[in-house]
């Protein structure tokens, strides 16, 4: 069993390796992750260290990318920002997937009335445009990174739940599930040990493809003031701060935007590659 699993993983990896774009994506993702993890070591200055005698400095040896309106080092803020932006992006995908899997597998496994009630509630949730839903929840909960993550996670739950439910429906009536029921296994055990492992692959792909979008959603919430709060460094929040001075200092808007774009692009390339590698039939 174990060797078979490894060979499948190995095969996926082999196919992924052949896809140049996906490898580039993977490398960039790893670099960004490392930067985020080692931000305190890499950043030349703390993200909130002000130097009011040296505001809007041009790039120099001390400040490679210049400084902002409080004389804070732009490079350091970008490096620290990667941490908060990634926490937001990965956090809401993780949380949203967790919600989605829980709700979706309960609906799919039990079926009948439970299914109808749960899925109708999900339908109601998905009747509100996603970004608006995020904005409403985040604004009601109060502006902070944690609440923004929760808001995005809640609004991504319905689509994830629907996906996992559809996959569970295809597995639910297989013989091995029947066998598990026959030996009187408990429902949670059947779902977690027998059904989910066989139904989760499409969710993993969808999740990877979602990370990029979630980073953008997180940045958007911060941009309109509902995510990371000052003086925290987060790419979306930095954009929103730089926006007021963009007439004279375009770079304050340019840098964080480029960081978001490169990171999201890398996650999208990786997600596309992973999808093709896991399911070669979908590849065109």
């Amino acid at each position: 069993m174990k060797s078979k699993k490894r060979s499948r993983l190995g095969e996926t990896w082999h196919r992924l390796k052949k896809n140049k774009a996906a490898v580039i994506g993977l490398v960039v993702v790893i670099i960004v992750l490392l930067v985020a993890i080692f931000a305190p070591l890499l950043a030349p200055y703390p993200y909130d260290q002000q130097d009011l005698s040296n505001v809007y400095a041009k790039p120099s040896r001390e400040h490679l990318l210049g400084t902002d309106k409080f004389g804070r080092d732009n490079l350091s803020r970008l490096i620290w920002g990667s941490r908060n932006s990634l926490i937001m992006g990965l956090g809401c995908v993780a949380l949203g997937t967790l919600f989605g899997i829980t709700v979706g597998s309960i609906a799919g496994y039990f079926g009948g009335r439970v299914d109808i009630v749960i899925m109708r509630i999900m339908d109601v949730f998905s009747c509100v445009p996603m970004l608006l839903m995020c904005v409403v929840i985040a604004a009601i909960l109060g502006p902070s990174i944690q609440n923004a993550i929760l808001a995005i996670a809640i609004s991504t739950t319905p689509s994830c739940a629907r996906l996992i439910r559809a996959n569970i429906l295809t597995v639910r009536d297989k013989e091995f599930v029947e066998a598990a029921k026959a030996i009187d296994a408990k429902s949670p055990h059947i779902i977690l040990r027998h059904i989910l492992p066989n139904a989760i692959a499409p969710t993993i792909v969808a999740t990877t493809m979602n990370i990029g979008n979630s980073i953008i959603s997180g940045a958007t919430l911060s941009f309109i003031g509902l995510g990371a709060q000052p003086p925290l460094a987060e790419w979306g929040a930095m954009l929103s701060e730089g926006r007021n001075y963009m007439r004279q200092h375009m770079e304050l808007v340019l840098y964080p935007g480029i960081c978001i774009m490169i990171t999201v692009l890398a996650f999208n390339l990786l997600g596309d590659g992973l999808r093709d590698a896991l399911d070669p039939r979908l590849k065109n």
């Binding site: 509100v128 970004l131 608006l132 409403v136 941009f223 979306g236 808007v253 999201v264």
Partner: protein, 332 residues
């Protein structure tokens, strides 16, 4: 037999909006209820006495239990009354009617741009697979998908409004004001459509019927546009529907950046000032509009795909299994 089944389906979908209204109203009300922050206190400011706040709460109806307020609100909704704003004392329904056209206009223009650019680019990429043209359009669309649209908006403002001075950077008093917001909003959707079009076109181009059409001596143009694209449209329409919904939400950002007095920015400012009736009314309105759009998409579906239409206009009674299959097709 006419379109009876389709009509019945439409009626059923319209009826489904009742639980949507009930659900969305309840969820928003519950969320507002559960969170700290008293609108009465916010309205009167820090210097208000406890009696004044208590009186305001009484007037705003905040002292009544949640469930009473919920049913009161629903009763109002059935009469088209969404309440009165706490702050401006304006009628919420009237305010929405003034503001929604702005949102609808910007969303429609940007959808139009997205469809007019995205689908041709996707077709072009698919018909030039494995060439640099295909690669260039894939890379370009990936970049556009990965770009936050508010950032793109700011870049556009900087170049076209501040540096070149061709268009205003704020406001939509003239038609020029609409250009930047709609272009900024459309870029990501256009790229999404291009990607979807490309992949579903590639799937169709390899089908036998395309070979047959070519063998018949049809021109390449007819083969691609009349045969392949028509069949590739189904997944594209799904994306158009979801993108339309997304752009209703995305308009919030464009409206804030470009100071457009639309429904999104109205909702956002009501959220920050805890103007409950406004928040409730506009979220509800967005939800209903979104459902209407999804319904329209389904109807368009049945117009392009005779296979789906036949499920509605047939006279044969369907078995349970067929019904299940049909609902799966529709929910995809």
């Amino acid at each position: 037999m006419g379109y009876e089944r389709l009509t019945r389906y439409i009626i059923r979908r319209l009826l489904w909006m009742i639980p949507v209204v009930l659900g969305v109203t309840f969820i928003v009300m519950l969320l507002l209820e559960l969170t700290p922050g008293d609108p009465a206190r916010q309205l009167l400011g820090h210097f208000a006495t406890e009696e004044q706040i208590e009186q305001a709460r009484e007037e705003m109806g905040l002292n009544r239990p949640l469930i009473t307020r919920y049913f009161d609100y629903l009763y109002g909704v059935t009469k088209g009354d969404l309440g009165v704003s706490y702050f401006t004392k304006g009628n919420v329904w009237d305010d929405i009617m003034v503001r929604f056209p702005y949102t609808l206009l910007i969303v429609t223009i940007s959808m139009f741009i997205a469809i007019c650019t995205g689908i041709p680019i996707g077709v072009y990429a698919a018909t030039h697979q494995y060439t640099w043209k295909d690669n260039a359009s894939i890379v370009a669309s990936l970049f556009c998908v990965s770009m936050p649209n508010f950032w793109f908006a700011l870049i556009l403002v900087n170049i076209f409004a501040i540096k070149l001075g061709w268009v205003p950077s704020l406001g939509v008093e003239t038609w020029k004001g609409w250009i930047l917001p709609s272009v900024a909003l459309s870029i990501g959707y256009s790229a999404t459509l291009a990607r979807q079009t490309r992949s579903s076109m590639l799937e169709q181009i390899r089908q036998d019927y395309v070979t047959t059409a070519r063998a018949k001596g049809q021109t390449e143009r007819v083969v691609i546009y009349k045969h392949a694209l028509k069949n590739a449209l189904i997944p594209i329409i799904t994306i158009v529907g979801s993108v339309f919904g997304a752009s209703l939400g995305g308009a919030v950002i464009a409206e804030t950046i470009f100071a457009i007095p639309g429904l999104g920015s109205y909702t956002l400012s009501a959220l920050t000032s805890r103007d409950y009736p406004v928040v409730q009314g506009s979220v509800l309105y967005f939800a209903v509009m979104y459902s209407v759009i999804l319904l329209l998409v389904d109807i368009v579906y049945s117009m392009v795909d005779p296979r789906i239409r036949s499920q509605f206009v047939g006279t044969k009674k369907r078995s349970k299994k067929e019904k299940k299959q049909r609902s799966e097709v529709l929910s995809q």
